[in-house]
Subunit: 84 residues, 2 copies
């Protein structure tokens, strides 16, 4: 593996990992009052586009980062709709 | 410009844009009690690594997305330290 792909993978772990506590919090509390559905929907569309970008660019770091974060964000959106 | 770079730029605008209201909120309220310094520090390191990745890969979308988000996150960290 190239050094730059390794840097990308570490970057992916950090930026996705930083997001986990928020999702865990929502998952545990079932409370989503302070969460903006618009913001998370915009974020989700952006992540899907990044995923397409990563697939086209053949970048495993971009694909992994955005696929995992996309799943986490989708969970938050589902919780927001379910428990609003 | 290639179509895929345009998709990347739209992705960059959406994922960075989704983050703006949070930063604006902190900026306006000067309240950062609910914000985790650890999370934002991890996020910041991740964004810097993505920036290095984007520069190496010569991707204007990745460079722009992570530079702008990195500046926004740095503002939140500065506010967190200043108003804790």
């Amino acid at each position: 593996m190239q050094t730059i792909e390794l840097i990308g993978l570490i970057a992916a772990m950090l930026t996705t990992g930083a997001f986990v506590p928020q999702v865990y919090k929502v998952f545990k509390s079932k409370s989503t009052a302070d969460i903006s559905l618009t913001m998370y929907t915009v974020l989700f569309v952006g992540l899907v586009l990044w995923l397409i970008y990563g697939i086209q660019k053949d970048s495993i770091a971009i694909i992994l980062a955005n696929a995992v974060t996309g799943i986490l964000v989708a969970f938050v959106i589902i919780f927001k709709i379910k428990y609003k």
